[in-house]
């Protein structure tokens, strides 16, 4: 019976991981803006999670634990590219091809513009912004996932949003009316 319950437990864990896949992928994509790379990162994250299942003491922490692993995988990915100096300050143009999903034709659309702007943020800012906005992690959780102080989370988020605002205005000065329309909606 013990063996059976062990199997069913690991089955539940497996399902939980599978359910997290979409959310991990979304964040991985927002960091890399490369579908293939994001997919690889998620796959690696899930494999590591499966392998190190025993390290997860508290099931409640599963979510932030998974994103910590994703962060490590992402960091490891850059370690393999020696020319990348500092992951936090790295600019996107170095690691992502210019004509990724945010192709010129998409620039006229709000989604493409925002993705392009996020892609241009410094990596540290991008990570904080996406974890807070897409996954709605608390500042404390983001701090623990990225292993940085909460104060740094706040300042990076602040700078990220400021930069994003400027970029979106810069990117589409003609379309500012369109953006303000959205503001009105909200």
């Amino acid at each position: 019976m013990k063996i059976l319950s062990l199997f069913s437990r690991s089955h539940v864990f497996h399902d939980q991981l599978e359910q997290s896949r979409v959310r991990l992928y979304r964040v991985a994509y927002s960091w890399s803006h490369d579908a293939a790379l994001a997919d690889d990162l998620v796959q690696e994250t899930l494999s590591k999670a499966l392998k190190n299942h025993g390290q997860l003491r508290d099931q409640e922490m599963l979510n932030s634990w998974l994103f910590s692993i994703l962060t490590n995988c992402w960091r490891d990915h850059f370690r393999q590219h020696r020319e990348m100096a500092d992951i936090d300050e790295i600019e996107d143009y170095r690691c992502v091809h210019e004509t990724t999903p945010e192709d010129e034709h998409a620039q006229t659309q709000i989604v493409g513009r925002v993705r392009g702007a996020v892609a241009n943020l410094a990596m540290g800012q991008r990570q904080v912004l996406t974890l807070v906005d897409l996954e709605e992690f608390s500042y404390a959780e983001v701090a623990s996932i990225l292993e940085i102080p909460v104060g740094t989370v706040m300042s990076r988020l602040c700078r990220a949003r400021r930069a994003l605002k400027e970029m979106l205005q810069e990117l589409a000065p003609v379309q500012s009316a369109h953006i303000s329309q959205i503001r009105r909606v909200k």
């Binding site: 992928y25 706040m154 949003r161």
Partner: protein, 244 residues
């Protein structure tokens, strides 16, 4: 961080938009926003940005591939399952093998043979140190049996094998003229195999003598200052060490 500051910081507004303020700070924020149009505008702007980011990644593009995603995670289970199966088979065969070879010192023989086979490829004469630390007659017999069968098999295949049997503690009984149950056999083995040496532990003999025991060793038995020293020396000389 406080909303009643002359300039409300962006950090504070961000925390408000992200619902990271405590109740008191939140009500202060609501107060400020209600009275200050500019503040309201900034909050709206931040909320708008947040929503835009969320909206932009709601449906990220998916990698083109034919394989179903769900299947890929199951793959790690297969090796695990195979490993479990192998473990069960290994365990079961080990259990039966144990029952089959469970007569006294057979495992020692297996160990002896394994180590000898492992080092056989070099072509140099094999050197094996057999350590006997117990007066258990089964062990004493095993040590002699296996040593003899090894020496014999090496001689028949024309290879050189040097064996040294080191005895300490109760194992010294094997080499004591008045106690050893195998005095004659040891004598015959020494004659037959010149590459076989017997060493008794000097420390053990000393202890026995202190107790008033008169220790008489069999002929041609060497005495090491201590068994431990002898073993260490031989290990340094790359001898294969086997404890029986």
């Amino acid at each position: 961080m406080k909303p009643d500051d002359s300039v409300v910081s962006d950090e504070f507004l961000n925390a408000f938009v992200d619902d990271q303020l405590d109740a008191a700070e939140k009500s202060q924020a609501f107060d400020g926003i209600g009275h200050d149009e500019a503040l309201k505008e900034r909050v709206c702007e931040l909320r708008g940005l947040k929503e835009m980011v969320r909206h932009s990644y709601e449906h990220p593009p998916v990698r083109n591939k034919s394989a179903g995603k769900g299947l890929r995670l199951r793959a790690p289970y297969l090796p695990a399952l195979a490993a479990c199966l192998l473990l069960c088979i290994g365990g079961a065969s080990g259990w039966f093998a144990h029952a089959w070879t469970g007569r006294g010192g057979e495992p020692e023989m297996m160990r002896l043979l394994q180590s000898v086979q492992r080092n056989d490829a070099s072509g140099e004469p094999q050197k094996i140190l057999v350590h006997v630390g117990s007066s258990n007659p089964v062990r004493l017999k095993t040590a002699l049996d296996e040593t003899e069968s090894l020496l014999d098999s090496y001689r028949r295949s024309g290879r050189k094998l040097q064996v040294e049997i080191v005895a300490n503690g109760g194992g010294v009984d094997l080499l004591r003229a008045d106690v050893s149950p195998y005095a004659m056999r040891i004598g015959l083995m020494q004659e037959k195999y010149p590459d076989l040496d017997f060493m008794a532990c000097g420390q053990t003999i000393k202890k026995l003598q202190e107790k008033g025991v008169d220790v008489q060793l069999l002929p041609h038995i060497g005495v090491a200052s201590s068994a431990l020293e002898q073993i260490t020396l031989r290990l340094k000389e790359n001898w294969v060490y086997i404890k029986v």
